[in-house]
Amino acid sequence: MHSTETLRSHGTACPATSADGGCTDDQIAGDGYTCRFEQGARPESLILNMGPQHPSTHGVLRVLLELDGEYIVRAEPVLGYLHRMHEKMAEVKTPAQFMPNMGRVDYLHALAWNWAYVGAVEKLAGIEIPERAEYLRVITCELNRISSHLLWWGAYLLDLGAFTPIMYAFDDREMLLDLLQLMTGSRLTYSSFRFGGVYTDAGPAFVQGVRQFIPHLRSRLPMYTALVTENIILRRRIEEVGVIPQDMVTRYGASGPVARGSGIAYDVRRAEPYSVYDRFDYEIPVRHEECSMARYMVRMAEIEQSLRIIEQAIESLPEGEHMHPKAPKPSFKLPAGESYFAVEGARGKIGVWIASDGGKTPYRVKLRAPGFSNLALFAECARGTLLADAVAILGSLDMVIPEIDR
């Protein structure tokens, strides 16, 4: 069949094929993952390889599904198709040289990863950041969070078969990207945070643009609600689908909107306050329904809360430097020691752990991707649902594959 045929080219020996007849000659052997997966399958089941090329796996995720009709008996995500070994690159590059990688881990919320790495290095090396830079980081990071949620919103509806919302979301997102381009120079893979500040200072164009953007997006959100959120087809598709109870969140270490959609008010901005977030008045949206709709509603509410943060930050943006005068040169050496820095990304808790022995490059860098833990619970969550529900659940977890594979 189509799915297994493409995998034959992998050429991986199928350990279980020959002897005990897992795959007979008549069938085309899949790769090791397929064969092992088939071992546990009931004879009447249909094994379906969803991905790595599939419209709703957003990039190159592969999910092995055992189907009974259209009901999912078992699911197993197979990762690694977009693995780039960022953690190895971090060990052979100086911290400054590794910065551009951070724009490419999670391309939708690149600035959060920027921040996580910069924060870990700053904590380890004791680098100070000027206040203005902190505010600019908050503003750009929150703008980036909105752009990530907007894209998720559009793409999620695309998964659910509505083609138009993504275009409306992109219309608004385009304005955001223009603003972020003013600050970072790029439109997607930002790398604009620096150890001790940010790359560019905010000019009047940026400040003015942000001030105009906030009311604009607020005026658009009711349209989003009326067109999509209240749409009966959408609500029937995702309400009570993909229920993730609280203990499942804990067992898998899920975070971000996945945890908050299950009634856990956990947000790194509150739990481990960093930067100047404690100066702003905003809420952590929490829903208790534990279903896909709850996660949807959390993200939509987060857009509004991010707007609130940006509004306060831009109004109280202090004057001053955007780079600390004592900010280290790009060739600086990390002192020995370890530091863990977590930030709240659009998908959850992003953590960077650096261990350094005082050498030119870090000794070990661990990138903790929220999507990795969030996707891990898919197999348990999707059991017993319909194929269409699996798509709805995958989408509601908001995966970004390059982040999961790193």
Partner: protein, 324 residues
Amino acid sequence: MNATISFDSVLHVVLALVGVAVFVGLNGLLLVYAERKVAGFIQRRPGPYEVGPQGILQAVADALKLIGKQLVRPDRADPLLFWMAPVLAFFPVLLLFLPIPFSPLLTGWDVNLGLLLILAFAGFNVLALLLAGWGSNNKYGLLGAARAVAQSVAYEIPLLLAVLAIAFQEGTLSLSAIVGGQGGMPWQWNIAVQPLAFLIFFVSALGETNRAPFDLPEAESELTAGFHTEYSGMGFGMFFLAEYANMIVACSVCTVLFLGGWKGPFLDGAWWFLAKVYGLLLTMMWFRWTYPRVRFDQLLNLNWRWLLPLGVLNLLATAFVMKL
């Protein structure tokens, strides 16, 4: 039906078939273009724009591309079923156009069982989708085919009930007679007396033609392309044409049954018929670019729990009123 089949009438039918083929081909191009333009405008972009002025030749270019592409059959697909499916999807649709009265004069074959003929031949479409999904030896195709069969079979029933209500009311199965029974003004159309039947018919027609929000057999975010996953070139092109042809048939029948066919407030004629058909087609497109897709069990629930009881009630009510 006329007992004598003269040479004239056979010639008429053959000519009509040729005409229908041309009509379907041209309309396929037109509707593809219209669909993409509608999508574009709804999404605040220009849609096709590069080929020809305002992109009007885009559909032609697409058609040429499809014709020029290689036909690929998967290694282990059943050749007979695999190639039969697109043929079976497209050609029976042409027959469906024969009894449709575009105007009193412009009717392929004014047969007094026209409605029955259409319902009978429409069944071929299901078979084609089943063969396509089964024959292509693809799991997505198989799932799509299974969906297509369950969906088409289910939605045929309320469709039939809605049609029956009109047939009761008019006392005929001839399409031109049904049009003849309606007046020119909108309030003299059957939709004014049978709004519920119209709704049931239209929703079922969406389900029968696999149009969004009921496009489950090819739901690309779930089944990549459903039953036509493995088809390339004109294999896919035939399914594509058949989908649009089916839409036209469904909208034409809807126009005949509920919207007064060729009759209008003034200047009765085929233009009224076409205007109404295109209006309905645009509505279908509007739906597609607005709504998410329903889930399969919901699709069947909607049918069995809402449309079917409503259809039966409507039919009973119609019969009751007729008896009075």
